[in-house]
Amino acid sequence: MKPPIERGVPSEHLYATEPQGMVRFLRRSLIWQTFRFFVFNFKMLRIVVGGHS
């Protein structure tokens, strides 16, 4: 649980974006995350192959 936001306290964290339901769901979805796992591996490999001679 997050600490309550202190209203009226000038702090940058009040102006930050926060993910909502769909994004949170996708971050835990096994199907979507399995797909993203392969995407990440492909992108990492692209960097490794192209990154140094």
Partner: protein, 485 residues
Amino acid sequence: MAKVIVLGAGISGHTAAQILKRKLGKGHEVTVISPNSNYQWVPSNIWVGVGKMSTEQVVFKLAPVYQKLGIGYKQALAVSIHPEGNARHPKPFVSIRHVAPDMEGKTEEVEYDYLVNSTGPKLNFAGTEGLGPDKFTNSVCTYDHAAHSWKNLQACIAKMEKGQRQTFVIGTGHPMATCQGAAFEYALNIKAELDNRKLGHLADMWWITNEAELGDFGMGGAYIRKNGYVTPTKIFTESILREYGVRWIKQAGVKKVDEKAIHYEDILGQTHQIEYDFAMLIPGFAGTGIKAYGREDQDISDKVFAANGMMKVDADYTPKPYEQWKAADWPSTYQSPAYPNVYATGIAFAPPHGMSKPAINKNGMSITPTPPRTGMPSGVMGMVVAQNIAHQVKTGKNDHPHRASMARMGAVCVVSAGYGFFKGRAAVMTVFPIVPDWEKHPKWGRDINYTIGEIGLAGHWVKLMLHYLFMYKAKARPLWWMIPE
């Protein structure tokens, strides 16, 4: 027969030694000199610090691996290098002091044809009053520091289980510290662990950093293309912290820690303090203090090392303002300009300048992260230097067919945000190149097509996969050399 000495057995030095031996074979000698008896996979220390991995899972003994590979190994501290030799030694040599229990205190002079300096940094806790595991703050820089942090964290958890609120302050402990990523991971992992134990509501979490803006990470920040926008890492990082309920203090130069509070100066030069129950602050990094001596045993350290103790390499060290920094200033072969058979990789090489825009407050305190050189770039540098030395030994030519400038290579950074095969999370960030190249990429500094930033369960799987993959590789198990850096 060529004799190659590698100083240090961290990610860079260990990689260099493995590749050198594989390329050079039995006809040449490769020797690693390191005061540590263990190899540690540093990126997983975070999980030791929250009790999710034991120290045994992130370390292994170096000696059996080097014995298997035919690499010489001396558990010793490098004291000085003598790149011109001296009256006793016609060849260059390194002076070492053994630290292994059976030879402790004995000194030795080891000759070399090629030297790879991969010592890593000295963790300069003394640079900030009261900093470090021997004083008031915790650290995750080494596996034993991380284990100590977990012990202290458990004490806080025990208090929270009795209903007490606890304040956690995580971040950088020096105005010019780097490795914000590691501290950031630790903050998120602590919060995730407290939430798992249903204690998160009793935690006041603070992120304190020397960055001008969040998401700078010592590399001037980055831009991520996502959902129809190109977004700075500032937005990405602030969003994660808000989601985790972590508040932040930026542009903070920590100058003192006492048993109750952390004292810091802000960019306006004003002094503040924040009280804490548990603090983990990354120290500044410095050179390990190795000296260099010439033929007549005169001190030539200034010729070989920069003022911060890091080794000078093929970079452009001409002082210039931020606006004139160029990607071409960064080294690509890591060869010493003074001694062509000496190389420095990983944190041991002196960067030509930072990546983050310098910020100095009215009291003259520079509150600017130094550039990160850990992890993936360290391994790549070790590999490229090993390939070049092997090429020179085999061909007799003094050229460098392999290059790895941080301004030409990309990096993958996986920031853990919680552990668990189904409940874990991590942010996967990639940048290409690491050092912004504003001439080649005038709008964003980097190739936006290569840059990603995404948080989720898959990120945790990636970090876990990298842990097992690189531990396997470092242990030189069958076909280890097929795993890329």
